[in-house]
């Protein structure tokens, strides 16, 4: 199941079809990755990236990021549900 993670665009990508984004995990740690524009949407003034939901609890969820984040050692991250849309 796909869910949308709220993020910020931080730069252009290295190719015309991608952008650099950053988001945060449930501990507030910021991570960044390059994302294809196919899986980015802008809604209500915010930017979202498409991710895969693995597990959901009342306040947090575990998702799979579409590409490797630079600051973390796994694409599987725990995030606050308040940053997710479509959950």
């Amino acid at each position: 199941m796909w869910v949308w993670l709220k993020c910020n665009q931080i730069s252009e990508g290295m190719f015309p079809n991608e952008i650099g984004i950053e988001a945060q995990n449930s501990k507030g740690e910021i991570f960044s990755l390059f994302a294809d524009k196919h899986i980015i949407k802008k809604e209500d003034g915010s930017t979202y990236i498409r991710t895969t939901l693995l597990e959901k609890t009342e306040n947090e969820s575990v998702i799979v990021l579409p590409t490797d984040p630079y600051e973390l050692q796994s694409r599987i991250v725990r995030v606050s549900n308040s940053f997710l849309k479509g959950i």
């Binding site: 190719f15 079809n17 995990n25 960044s32 294809d36 579409p66 050692q73 991250v77």
Partner: protein, 191 residues
């Protein structure tokens, strides 16, 4: 288990493997056990003689990477990749290996093509695995290890994807989040 051409077509038709734009699935695109992908229109060429170093612990990797590469559209007459020159490229196709409940799950490996390898072209030198859940075009690390320039043209068949079945359920393990080891062998907590 490696997917056959029939298995690849089935996974595409079920939406588990997404390819956009989907090339015509004929012999030249779909080999017995691989899908050939095409070179995109843009190269990302590193600037020379900058004074910097990468330190992932310092952050700001993405803005740094974006600032030290110049995007160049490949001209219609082609771009000559000189001996020992390194550039980044990506595939024309966007790939998504979707994880769907109750459906088979796939990972893939990007590999070069023997015809180009004979000319000296390396299409990646690390990170060939496309993990389940990946979405995006595939970044290629192109390097000419040969003695003569290799002409790169947009749309040329540049690499192949080999799909493999993922056995078992993908589930978060606590070990993925706690006390992970850094490359230096130290333990660190991700979150």
């Amino acid at each position: 288990m490696v997917l056959s051409n029939v298995g690849i077509e089935k996974a595409i038709s079920e939406g588990i493997i997404e390819i956009k734009p989907l090339p015509p699935l004929k012999e030249t695109t779909l080999d017995t056990t691989a899908l050939n992908l095409r070179l995109g229109n843009t190269l990302s060429i590193p600037k020379k003689d900058l004074s910097l170093s990468f330190d992932l612990k310092q952050g700001k990797i993405i803005p740094t990477l974006s600032s030290i590469y110049v995007q160049k559209e490949i001209p219609s007459q082609g771009y000559p990749l000189e001996p020992y020159q390194f550039v980044l490229a990506n595939t024309m196709e966007y790939i998504s290996l979707n994880i769907k409940k109750g459906k088979p799950c796939y990972a893939a490996r990007v590999e070069g093509k023997s015809s180009l390898a004979r000319c000296g072209l390396l299409i990646h030198f690390t990170a060939p695995t496309i993990h389940a859940g990946f979405s995006g075009s595939i970044t290629l690390e192109l390097m000419n290890l040969g003695q003569y320039p290799i002409i790169l043209r947009p749309g040329m068949q540049i690499c192949q994807l080999i799909f493999e079945t993922v056995e078992g359920k993908i589930t978060p393990k606590e070990s993925q989040f706690h006390l992970q080891k850094t490359p230096e062998g130290k333990r660190q907590q991700n979150y």
